[in-house]
C-alpha cells in the first residue's frame, strides 16, 4: 500500500523538493504551507508520516506537533522536525512536543529518503 507523507513547510521550494523526492520514491505526498494548514489536512487524510518545518507563520512546527499528538490518529505515527536549528534546545522542545526525531536542514534528497525509509520503510 502506498504510504502517505504530510510535508509541512512555508517555503515553496523546500516543499517542492521534499514532495518531488518522496513522490519519486513512490510515496503519496500531501503538502501544507503552515501548521494550521497541516492540521486541517491531517484531519482529512490518513497519514503515515509527518515532516514539519519548525519556523512557520500562523502555527509553528512545535505547536503543530502538540496539536497532532492530541489527535487519536496521530498519537503514534512518526513526526519528524525539519529544522535549521540543530541546537539541543530545539531538539528538547521538539521532544517535549512529541516529535519522533529531527532532520537538520539543509539536507539533500538522498538523506531525506534515508531517514524516511528508516522510519516508515
Amino acid at each position: 500500500m502506498t504510504k502517505t507523507i504530510l510535508a509541512v513547510d512555508d517555503s515553496a521550494s523546500m516543499r517542492q523538493m521534499v514532495a518531488f523526492t518522496l513522490k519519486g520514491a513512490g510515496y503519496e505526498v500531501i503538502e501544507a504551507v503552515d501548521g494550521q494548514d497541516a492540521l486541517d489536512k491531517a484531519n482529512h487524510y490518513k497519514v503515515n508520516l509527518v515532516l514539519t518545518d519548525i519556523n512557520m507563520p500562523r502555527m509553528d512546527g512545535l505547536k503543530l506537533l502538540e496539536m497532532l499528538r492530541q489527535l487519536a490518529d496521530y498519537k503514534s505515527i512518526p513526526i519528524l522536525m525539519l529544522t535549521t536549528e540543530s541546537s539541543n534546545d530545539i531538539k528538547a522542545q521538539g521532544k517535549a512536543a512529541g516529535a519522533t526525531g529531527w532532520l537538520v536542514k539543509p539536507f539533500d534528497p538522498k538523506r531525506l529518503l534515508e531517514v524516511v525509509h528508516k522510519v516508515i520503510g
Binding site: D10, S11, A12, S13, M14, Q16, M17, A19, F20, T21, K23, G24, A25, G26, D53, N55, M56, P57, R69, K75, S76, I77, P78, I79, L80, T84, S86, S87, N88, K91, G94, K95, G98, A99, T100, G101, W102, L103, V104, K105, P106, F107, D108, P109, K110, R111, L113, E114, V115, H117, K118, V119, G121
Partner: protein, 713 residues
C-alpha cells in the same frame, strides 16, 4: 538516487525574491521606537526561510549572509537587544547584498564584494555589541555555537554538492566513536563493524556484549558524516559520539574539542544530520523492536537502491503535481497566443461581415452560430489579455525604499502613500513604467518637497507627503505622483527656458509652461544634485511615456504642491471602437471617449468668426472637429446638420466630431502605424477590418485637445 536540485532553483529564486521584498517592506514599516513583535517575527522568518533554501540548494554565500541576519534578528525578537535605526539600515543593505547574490546565482549580475564585506562587518559589530553588553559567562559558548552552526551548514552543503564533507581535502583523520550497545543485535553489530572497517583502519577499544558502551577508533579519509550514516541506522544517535582525534586540516577553525568531553557540552563540528528520540512515538527503535527484524542495517540502503525504477515511473506525475496553483509560462508563448487571438478576432469580424449579407430567415442557424462565435471570441480575448495583466503594486512596492534612502540623504522628512496598488495593467507596461516613475518620484522628493525648516516657515507640517496613485479611467490607467511640496514656479521656469533658448509663445497657459520642464536640457534646481540628475531625465521620462502610447500632464500650484499624471493605455493590443465614415474613408474612434452621437439641427450650429464652428448640445457649446478638414478628405456633405456628430470627452474637455455616418461597433486589433509607416498627427494606430481594408484609429484625446486650443484662441 540523484535528484537534480537544479530543477528547484528557479522556484527558490522567485521565493527568495518575494521573501526579500517582504522583509524589506517589513523593515521599512518597522517602528524603531516600539517594534511590533509580529513584524520582527516576519522579518526573522524571511531570513530564516532564505537561509534554509540557500543551504539546501548549495548557495553558501547566501547562507552565510542570511545566517548573520537571522542570528541578530533572533535576538531582536527575543528582546535581548533593542532595535536601532542603524540596524534597520544595515538589514536593508544586507537585503541588497542578498539580492545581488541571488542575481549572481541567477546569472544576471553579482553581489558587490565591497558592499558585502562592509555589511558583514556591520552585522558583526552589532552582534559583538550584543556580546559586550551581555556580560555573561557563556559568551564564548554562544559564539562557538554560532560559528559551529555556520561550519555545519557549509559542510553539509559541500556534501550535498558531492564533495567530500567536513574537510575539503580528504586527509586522514582519526575518529573516536563511542556509542551504546543497547538494542543492537549481534548481527547488526557485525555488519556495522565490517562497514566501518571498509572505510579505513578500525581499532576496537572496547567492544563487548556485556559492556553497555562500545568505543572504536577509526582512521579514515571518510568524513564524520559518512561515519554517522553508517552508525545512525544501528545505534541510537542520541547515545552516539563521534569526534575527530587529529584533524589534518590546516584550518584552525575546524579543530574539534577534546573528544573525551561530554557530547552535549560542546557542539560537535558537524552535528548529527538527523536523529530520533528514544522512546518517542514511532521512533525507529520501537518499530524495529516490534518487527524484530534481522535486516536492520541494510534496510535503508536496499530500499534506496531499488526505487529508481519506481522513481522514473513517477517522475512525470510528480512534476505535474508539483506546482498546482500556478504555472510558469514564457512570455513569448503568451504573446504568441495574444497574436493568434488577435488574428482570430479579425477572422471572426470578416465572417460576421460576410454573414451579415445573407438572408437572415434562411440562414437563421448560421447567424445564431455567428453570434455565439462572437461572444466566445470576445471572452477568449479577454481571458487571454488578462494573462498579461499584473497589479501595479509590483512597481509601487519599490518606492518606499527609494523614498526612505533619498529622504535620509537630503535631510528631508517624507512620507510615501500609495493608493490603488491593485490596479492592473499590462506586464509590458509594468516593466517600462518603473524607470520613468522612479525618476518622477525622485524628482518630487528632490525638487518638490522642501526641507523641514522651510516647510514649517511656510506653515506646513515638517513631514512632506508623496502620494502614488493608480486608477482606471475609461480605457486608460492613470498613475499620479503627487507631492505637497513647493510647487512649480512659473517665472523661474520661463526665465530658465528663455536662458536655455527654448522657444516660448506669448500668453502660454500654466499647463504649457509646466510642460517646459520636459524639454531636453531643462533643469531648474539651483544646485545640481546627484539625486535627480541634471535635467536630462525629464525629457527622457516624457519620451518613455509617449513610446508606451501614454501621455503625461502636470498640475501645480506654487507653494501647494505638484501633481504629475501619466495616462497609459490598459493594453497595447486591443481596442473597442466605433467605426465612422468620412467620404470613402473609415476611421475607428475608441469607444471609451464617446459620450453620445447625435444628428444636429441647423439651428444648433453656430459659426465663430475665423474659428470654425461650435454646436450647442444640452446647453453646452462644444467645438466641432471636422475630420474631413483635418485629414483633407472629400466628405459626402460639408453641412454639419446633414451628417452626424459624435460627442467625445477626453481629459476633462468635450468636443463634437463631425462625420458622414456611423458604421458599427467593433473590437479591433491595434497595429502600430509608427512601426509600419510613421507617426501621423491625430492617428494613434491602424487596424485591419473584416473586409480586409485598413482603418485608422483616431488619437481622440489629441484631437479634442487640439480643438480646445483652437477654440481658446
Amino acid at each position: 538516487m540523484s535528484t537534480d536540485l537544479e530543477q528547484f532553483y528557479e522556484i527558490f529564486f522567485e521565493e527568495s525574491s518575494e521573501l526579500l521584498a517582504e522583509m524589506e517592506a517589513c523593515l521599512l514599516g518597522l517602528d524603531v521606537s516600539s517594534p511590533d513583535l509580529e513584524d520582527l517575527n516576519a522579518i526573522f522568518r524571511a531570513a530564516h526561510s532564505i537561509k534554509g533554501g540557500a543551504g539546501t540548494f548549495g548557495f553558501t554565500d547566501m547562507t552565510e549572509m542570511t545566517h548573520m541576519l537571522e542570528t541578530l534578528l533572533d535576538r531582536l525578537r527575543k528582546g535581548e537587544l533593542e532595535v536601532r535605526s542603524e540596524m534597520v539600515d544595515a538589514f536593508l543593505r544586507a537585503g541588497d547584498v542578498i539580492k545581488g547574490q541571488l542575481a549572481g546565482h541567477r546569472g544576471d549580475g553579482a553581489a558587490d564584494p565591497v558592499a558585502t564585506a562592509a555589511v558583514c562587518e556591520e552585522l558583526r559589530k552589532f552582534s559583538e555589541a550584543i556580546y559586550a553588553s551581555n556580560e555573561t559567562a557563556d559568551i564564548t559558548t554562544v559564539k562557538i555555537t554560532d560559528s559551529a552552526e555556520v561550519k555545519s551548514i557549509t559542510s553539509e552543503v559541500n556534501d550535498a554538492t558531492g564533495a567530500a564533507a567536513l574537510n575539503v581535502n580528504p586527509a586522514l583523520t582519526v575518529f573516536s566513536i563511542a556509542f551504546s550497545n543497547e538494542g543492537v543485535s549481534p548481527r547488526a553489530m557485525d555488519n556495522l563493524l565490517s562497514n566501518l572497517g571498509g572505510m579505513g583502519s578500525l581499532e576496537k577499544l572496547i567492544l563487548s556484549g556485556d559492556e553497555q558502551r562500545s568505543k572504536l577508533l577509526l582512521k579514515t579519509n571518510s568524513s564524520e558524516e559518512d561515519i554517522w550514516e553508517a552508525l545512525a541506522f544501528v545505534v541510537d544517535p542520541a547515545n552516539l559520539k563521534i569526534a575527530a582525534e587529529i584533524l589534518m586540516s590546516t584550518d584552525a577553525d575546524t579543530l574539534t574539542p577534546d573528544p573525551t568531553d561530554e557530547f552535549e557540552a560542546v557542539p560537535s563540528l558537524s552535528g548529527p544530520p538527523y536523529g530520533f528520540f528514544p522512546g518517542a512515538p514511532a521512533a525507529p527503535n520501537d518499530i524495529e523492536n516490534i518487527e524484530n527484524s534481522a535486516a536492520t542495517t541494510g534496510s535503508g540502503r536496499q530500499v534506496t537502491s531499488s526505487h529508481p525504477v519506481a522513481q522514473q515511473k513517477d517522475d512525470k506525475a510528480a512534476a505535474t503535481a508539483a506546482e498546482t496553483s500556478s504555472i510558469r509560462v514564457s512570455i513569448d508563448k503568451v504573446d504568441q497566443m495574444i497574436n493568434l487571438v488577435g488574428e482570430l478576432v479579425i477572422t471572426q469580424a470578416m465572417l460576421a461581415q460576410t454573414a451579415s449579407q445573407v438572408d437572415p430567415v434562411i440562414y437563421e442557424r448560421l447567424l445564431s452560430g455567428m453570434n455565439q462565435l462572437e461572444r466566445n471570441t470576445r471572452d477568449l480575448q479577454e481571458s487571454v489579455m488578462s494573462i498579461r495583466m499584473m497589479p501595479i503594486s509590483f512597481v509601487f512596492s519599490r518606492y518606499p525604499r527609494v523614498v526612505r534612502d533619498l529622504a535620509a540623504k537630503l535631510n528631508k522628512q517624507v512620507e510615501l502613500k500609495t493608493v490603488g496598488e491593485n490596479t492592473e495593467l499590462d506586464k509590458g507596461l509594468i516593466e517600462k513604467i518603473a524607470d520613468p516613475l522612479t525618476h518622477l518620484v525622485r524628482n518630487s522628493l528632490d525638487h518638490g518637497i522642501e526641507i523641514p525648516e522651510k516647510r514649517i516657515v511656510a506653515g506646513k507640517s515638517a513631514k512632506g507627503t508623496i502620494t502614488l496613485r493608480a486608477f482606471h479611467q475609461g480605457g486608460s490607467i492613470v498613475i499620479e505622483v503627487c507631492d505637497d511640496g513647493a510647487g512649480l514656479n512659473r517665472e523661474k521656469i520661463l526665465a530658465k527656458a528663455k536662458e536655455r533658448g527654448i522657444s516660448l509663445l506669448d500668453g502660454m497657459s500654466d499647463q504649457e509652461v509646466w510642460m517646459l520642464i520636459f524639454e531636453a536640457g531643462f533643469s531648474t534646481a539651483e544646485v545640481i544634485t546627484d539625486v535627480s540628475g541634471r535635467g536630462v531625465g525629464m525629457d527622457v521620462v516624457k519620451r518613455n511615456i509617449q513610446s508606451m502610447g501614454g501621455r503625461i500632464e502636470i498640475d501645480s500650484a506654487f507653494g501647494v504642491g505638484t501633481r504629475i499624471s501619466i495616462r497609459l493605455p490598459l493594453t497595447l493590443a486591443i481596442l473597442d471602437g466605433l467605426s465612422v465614415a468620412v467620404g470613402d474613408q473609415m476611421f475607428i474612434v475608441p469607444l471609451t471617449y464617446i459620450i453620445e452621437s447625435l444628428q444636429p439641427t441647423a439651428s444648433d450650429i453656430k459659426t465663430v468668426s475665423g474659428h470654425g464652428c461650435v454646436v450647442q448640445v444640452r446647453g453646452e457649446y462644444l467645438p466641432v472637429i471636422a475630420l474631413h478638414e483635418i485629414f483633407n478628405l472629400r466628405p459626402h456633405s460639408t453641412e454639419i446638420h446633414n451628417g452626424i456628430l459624435v460627442i467625445l470627452e477626453a481629459e476633462g474637455h468635450k468636443a463634437a466630431m463631425f462625420v458622414d455616418a456611423l458604421i458599427g461597433q467593433h473590437q479591433v486589433v491595434i497595429k502600430s502605424l509608427e512601426s509600419n509607416y510613421r507617426r501621423v498627427q491625430g492617428v494613434s494606430g491602424a487596424t485591419i477590418m473584416g473586409d480586409g481594408k485598413v482603418a485608422l484609429i483616431l488619437d481622440t484625446a489629441a484631437l479634442v485637445m487640439a480643438s480646445q486650443k483652437e477654440s481658446v484662441k
